[in-house]
Symmetry: C2
Subunit: 417 residues, 2 copies
Amino acid sequence: MKLLKSWIPSANSSVTEFPLNNLPYGVFSTAKLGKRCGIAIGDMILDCQAVEESGLIKFNSGPIFKNPFWNNLMDLGAEEWTRFRKEITSLLSLDVNSHKLENMLVPKATAELHIPFLVSEFTDFWSCKHHAVNAGTMLRGTENALPPNWNHMPIGYNGRASSVTVSGVNFNRPWGQVKKPNNTLPVLAPSKRFDFELEIGAIVGSKSKGPLTVQQADDIIFGYVLLNDWSARDIQAWEGQPLGPFQGKATATTISPWIVTKEALIPFKCGPPAREVELLDHLKDCGPMFYDISLTVSLTPKKGKASIITETNYKEMYYSSAQQLAHHTSSGCPMRVGDLIGSGTISGSQEYERGSMLELSWGGKEPLHLANGEIRSFLEDFDTVTLQGKGTQEDFIIGFGSCTGTVLPALKSPYSN
Amino acid sequence: MKLLKSWIPSANSSVTEFPLNNLPYGVFSTAKLGKRCGIAIGDMILDCQAVEESGLIKFNSGPIFKNPFWNNLMDLGAEEWTRFRKEITSLLSLDVNSHKLENMLVPKATAELHIPFLVSEFTDFWSCKHHAVNAGTMLRGTENALPPNWNHMPIGYNGRASSVTVSGVNFNRPWGQVKKPNNTLPVLAPSKRFDFELEIGAIVGSKSKGPLTVQQADDIIFGYVLLNDWSARDIQAWEGQPLGPFQGKATATTISPWIVTKEALIPFKCGPPAREVELLDHLKDCGPMFYDISLTVSLTPKKGKASIITETNYKEMYYSSAQQLAHHTSSGCPMRVGDLIGSGTISGSQEYERGSMLELSWGGKEPLHLANGEIRSFLEDFDTVTLQGKGTQEDFIIGFGSCTGTVLPALKSPYSN
């Protein structure tokens, strides 16, 4: 696929993450405009409310950009998603008279970014085999690394939507109930094994009721974001039996501010991995639904520069978001507009491709060396973790923007008087 | 506490579940009025929109009964909850001139009931020791019935808010991935071990950020409903390791239509059970936060009358809803208005007090005999399960209304062509 040229010069650069081929959807604010839906294009943001008010874009159902989130567009259904994207593409194309739109652009550098959609519910999966094998090996040894169900279905658990925040929102290291291996009793203490997880989140754009096939599931995916599923390993280890992760995953979940649409990612589609066992009917592969998106994680300590600690690729997944969503609905579970589906930690086969500190430091046994000479087993106070993702074509890049967050020190005990 | 007398005669009966002392909040509809917030009083429903439009009740923040759910009142905070309840109590009292209000009453028998609030997120706990020991004994034997964390914290998992429906909404038996003990490979099939779970749900009425003490958690509870956490035991057994219940719990979750407020339940408050180990600071008991509410479950097969299969009491809980909520926030997890917190299955120490088919039939080994001569290990197609709950004082009852649902046959395979 070729770069689509725009009348906005910065969108035509070979290094921008936001060429006309991308058009990701976000929410921005400035002192003058307040909070609004916007579309990233080069180093500018197109103000969607202004475009709608000008009459250049119309919806039969009435105005949809009165509220600063994208759920209203999602609610209109896939045909309208396509029409809207086509019309915006056309308005920003090189061959269009730009003067009507020039006043509707805001320099990205002057805007603050906010969460781009209302998260209805958040589900997190565990669907990358390299990660599952790494985590399982540490817990149960090589022989029993994968539980018996793993090759047959995407294992998932419901997360907490209220924990989802946008890139740049920092949070305090959590307190929690933890038990040290040599103690008989647990204590209440700040987490000592606080971690990130490199993931991609798929956003459900249409509601559903009843089981969906993999193709039907893919059809209702609106777009994708980077997702950091911050995890307190010590809290998780003590609470997790028998009902799974709970407070260890509830402190914060950071997503990148721009929803990259499914259409923008078409050039990066790829097929499924080799299957060790045949998948059952509700999960059968049906066309390329994986994506070749390179991913990096960097860690910036309080004092010192960023170290790239992970380089991997979204195509390392064993189950696609569409398969996860199909499985999620197999019981008849209804889906709603704004549901967020986390891929699970994405790791590759190599050591430098591991998507969590747990794996990178092998449970703390092999601490990581940072560029400034510090070492890390898990995250320290004031560590900043930044995820980035991009798909690359010959003459353009589709980027997700940064997904970043800083671990602030734990609160003073909330229970002392 | 004494019965408060109302000018509505049916509210003064010693057998009504809805005396003036109760005033539970629901959403009703009639062909004429559409869908509205209402309050049950005797055999009538008070139309809240009409009361607000008449000016008899006012809110400084503007009208709150334009939408047919109670989240708007919750959003105003605990002081307004108390003021509203006091004013409604006063309007319906025997010593009040009733003629202004008579036209704002709808006979309950002519109205349809709907879900009373928008469920933001749903969390389900596992906090009744009799149930946990029963389930654990079946799975792991008497010695290891309880996991080591159980006595130290309320174990919970995030459920699926989109699965929550109101009493009377039926659903199809789920399909799911299941593996029979003697097979090596799983199959996709309708659940054969479909079950109910008798629970009470607490509704979070105020948002929060950061850890809450038990007292602070109790302060933001708005009220309670009966809750049936329908469970596909065979799906749950195969999917549950290592991340806990997922599709086995996602088909449906039925709640009773009336929110019984925390204030209405004051006469039934009781203290905590004896503690086997001292609870950590964030869970310490601080006053009576358990409730003496008798609970029954009846099962009505397609052909035949209802059999009462469970009789137990809400006071059998080991952790209160306030303790569950305090634990839920310990990691900093934000709470939102309309979050629903399931108690977990409530069972007593006796066989007839068990709150699920799993326990009643001891995993299918001791099938239950129904009044019509049929036997049951798990639920059959067209079985109707009805939960009821009431607190009893000398001269009045506080009831929850019925929480009922019927298991319809599984869909024809959604994946065949």
